[in-house]
């Protein structure tokens, strides 16, 4: 408690506060003291507080990106906890859930404990860790122990649990200890086993690349929903890419099944046309699909079928992305373009309000993971981001904090940038620069 006495107080003035938890949506001042939100109101006065003018900007709870590959331990050449969590801050993201496909993978408590303790030392964005659903896709992981070590979810992200019986048993075990499962929905016999590395359609035909059908995802989503119903486990479908997938989740939710869904910026903003020229930065699993799918994903975000927007931030080496399309690694980085992509492709075209967008970026992920959502209300921990929604910029990966330069948004003009970020009431980013 003594350290709080030395903490600087901040008064954020004249910003447009958007807080999905309290419902604030208007011009207000926010006072941050001793690591918490001390006051929210009009024309607050405070002597000895550092004033941050948020005039013309929005003030939101810190964003939560629940789908991030940080690569540490094992592939620190691609990303480290440090570079990844700095990239998060730069994007206005104060909480991150790390995916467990590290080397060694987080299918054991040691890796989880290492990641969490190292992130605490680094003290950039907050880290939450996910453990694996299975050990090598063969056995149920020790979920109880993973949870005790601090894992808040389990996932085999990067691939699905191919064996349906194993997946059901995993769900039963996870249900016993109330751990949410994050599902990478894909039937491998329709995708990897066919060397089908992009969406099957006009563009795969033109490029001479084997394509995978939408059914590869929809079938896997339906399978997970049915097994969620059987087991009662909390199942979250990661990075939904197909119209059929969105519809399946919508039906499950209207039947009150414990199922949620997630959208990534690249799946709601970009189509398979980005792959033209064999652009390996547009190669991902699930693949970029067609406008009808993007539209369905956007509609799913708007009506709450997809309650989470997350990036699937997947850094790779530049040299790996120079490999032929068929063998280049999959994924795009996303932390530093998350807010701008949401603002550019969802809010500005009036598909969702900024309040809804912020909800999908804060409350949505917290609810899936069973965590208290960040909020700008009195007494809440002060994880706060300030965004200038009008800044226009062209995505230039050489300027990223992330080690990953592989972005599918390279060269695109986006609107909006984080200017200030607080974690635990401490100013981490000021005027867009990490302190």
């Amino acid at each position: 408690m003594t350290q709080f006495n030395t903490m600087v107080s901040y008064l954020i003035t004249n910003g447009h506060v958007i807080d999905p938890v309290s419902g604030y949506n208007g011009k207000m001042d926010v006072l941050i003291e001793n690591g918490v939100i001390a006051k929210v109101g009009n024309e607050l006065k405070k002597t000895r507080a550092q004033i941050i003018s948020a005039k013309g900007k929005i003030v939101t709870p810190g964003l939560f990106d629940m789908h991030v590959h940080l690569r540490e331990p094992g592939r620190e050449d691609k990303e480290t906890l440090e570079t990844g969590l700095r990239a998060a801050l730069r994007g206005g993201v104060t909480s991150v859930l790390s995916m467990p496909n590290t080397v060694p993978s987080a299918d054991n408590q040691t890796v989880i404990r290492f990641q969490l303790s190292k992130a605490r030392e680094l003290n950039f964005a907050r880290l939450f860790a996910a453990g694996k659903i299975t050990k090598n896709g063969e056995k149920i992981s020790e979920m109880w122990e993973l949870k005790n070590a601090g894992a808040v979810a389990i996932t085999d992200d990067g691939e699905d649990v191919d064996d349906a019986a194993l997946l059901l048993h995993c769900m039963e075990w996870a249900h016993t200890f109330d751990i949410p499962l994050l599902i990478h929905a894909e039937i491998p016999s329709l995708t990897r086993e066919e060397d089908a590395v992009m969406h099957e359609g006009k563009i795969s035909q033109l490029l001479g690349i084997s394509g995978q059908p939408r059914a590869a995802e929809v079938l896997a989503i339906e399978r997970s929903i049915l097994l969620a119903e059987e087991s009662g486990a909390k199942v979250h479908i990661a990075h939904v890419s197909t119209a059929g997938g969105v519809e399946a989740i919508r039906r499950a939710r209207s039947a009150s099944l414990p199922v949620s869904g997630e959208a990534t910026p690249h799946h709601f903003a970009l189509t398979h046309e980005e792959c033209l020229g064999w652009n390996t930065n547009a190669k991902m699993y699930p693949p970029l699909r067609e406008e009808v799918d993007c539209k369905a994903v956007r509609a799913g975000i708007a009506d709450g079928t997809l309650s989470v927007i997350a990036t699937d931030h997947a850094p790779h080496l530049v040299s790996e992305k120079y490999l032929p399309f068929q063998i280049a690694p999959v994924g795009t980085v996303g932390l530093e373009t998350l807010f701008a992509a949401v603002n550019t492709y969802l809010v500005r075209p009036r598909i969702v309000t900024m309040a809804t967008a912020i909800e999908r970026l804060t409350v949505g992920p917290a609810l899936v993971l069973g965590l208290p959502p960040a909020s700008i209300s009195e007494g809440a921990i002060a994880d706060v981001s300030i965004f200038d929604t009008n800044t226009e910029w062209v995505v230039d990966p050489s300027k990223f904090e992330s080690k990953g330069r592989n972005t599918a948004f390279e060269g695109k003009t986006l609107f909006g940038r984080a200017t200030h970020v607080f974690v635990d009431g401490i100013l981490k980013v000021a005027d867009g620069i990490i302190l």
Binding site: G201, G208, G211, G277, W278, P324
Partner: protein, 343 residues
């Protein structure tokens, strides 16, 4: 000395005379592109220039030229090939170039070398022409952007095989004079075939109409959107009615083409071209195949020896077309220099 000099003088003159024969046809024309990686990049003028020159080379038969003397042709074949590699190599030799073959199954790419480094390495050897075949779609396009040499695509994955598309069209034109309004039917494994990839791009440019006959297995999602000008049939006999040119394609088992078929036997029975079926095509129709042929699978043995079968003409024309391509890309009369990104 004098005698030697006199002979040498007259030999030079003779060589120049032979070199001038294709030049007379070419009339100082140049391709609009520095590389031949996709039919899409070629203008209609380019296609006609290639055909004019190829026709001349074919006429001149076994003549040897010194049009590319001192130049180097690298045939970089990351995938097995007999006819295409031999044809490009022979073309280079006919033009007086030095030809080097690099053949390997399993590329340095699969050993972990990046495409950039492969390109840089070839560039450092100052090749004038790089003829490349690879199992990966898009590699020749990538190479073309990053080397000073002219890149000729000799087949990239399931994407394109432009010299084959050109020689097939050349063979059709040789037979019919003009193929505008003619109907070309392609039968078989169109989804794994780069030959199809080039045919589907070149035939509409020559105003031929195009059909395919294939099981649903080979007509994938997006086919009709990508190639709206192609009429699709699932019954080969219906497709043959009214056809002038029939091209059969081999089932590309090495690319997974066999996976969607119960047996080659059943494919042969349902889609193989035999004499009875071929008789459904227009009178005077011709049969073509890019090779290698699997006799009695996609084409019945008896049809192979018929005069209407142009497979060996295709091979012969392949040499002429490739000789034309190599000469046109490496010896520009406008002396324009290719710019490339050395990164």
């Amino acid at each position: 000395m004098v005698l030697f000099g006199a002979i040498s003088y007259s030999t030079d003159q003779m060589v120049e005379h032979i070199n001038n024969l294709p030049r007379e046809v070419r009339k100082n024309r140049d391709l609009s592109v520095f590389d031949v990686v996709s039919i899409d990049d070629l203008s209609n003028d380019d296609i006609h220039l290639i055909f004019d020159v190829a026709k001349k080379f074919k006429e001149l038969g076994n003549e040897k030229f010194s049009l590319l003397k001192g130049m180097t042709v690298f045939c970089v074949f990351f995938e097995g090939s007999t006819r295409t590699r031999a044809s490009f190599e022979l073309a280079g030799k006919k033009l007086g170039a030095d030809t080097i073959n690099i053949t390997s199954n399993g590329t340095s790419i699969s050993k972990g070398e990046t495409l950039h480094d492969t390109a840089q390495t070839l560039n450092a050897m100052r090749a004038n022409i790089i003829v490349v075949r690879t199992e990966y779609s898009g590699i020749p396009q990538f190479l073309a952007k990053h080397v000073g040499a002219a890149v000729i695509n000799a087949g990239d994955g399931m994407h394109e095989h432009p010299s084959q598309g050109l020689l097939d069209a050349f063979t059709m034109i040789e037979h019919y004079g003009d193929i505008a309004g003619k109907t070309v039917l392609v039968v078989g494994d169109i989804s794994h075939s780069r030959v199809f990839g080039s045919l589907v791009r070149i035939l509409p440019r020559l105003r031929a109409s195009m059909r395919v006959a294939a099981p649903k297995t080979f007509v994938r999602n997006g086919f009709r959107e990508a190639f709206p000008h192609v009429q699709v049939f699932q019954n080969v006999e219906e497709a043959l009615l009214g056809t002038d040119i029939v091209i059969a394609l081999r089932v590309q088992e090495e690319r997974g083409g066999g996976k969607g078929l119960p047996t080659l036997r059943e494919f042969s029975k349902t889609f193989g071209i035999n004499e009875r079926r071929f008789a459904l095509a227009n009178v005077g129709a011709i049969f073509m195949h890019p090779g290698p042929v699997m006799r009695d699978i996609e084409v019945h043995n008896a049809l192979m020896t018929k005069g209407t079968t142009k497979i060996l003409n295709q091979v012969e024309n392949g040499l002429a077309v490739r000789t034309a391509l190599e000469w046109l890309v490496a010896d520009r009369t406008d002396k324009k220099v290719k710019l490339y990104d050395s990164i």
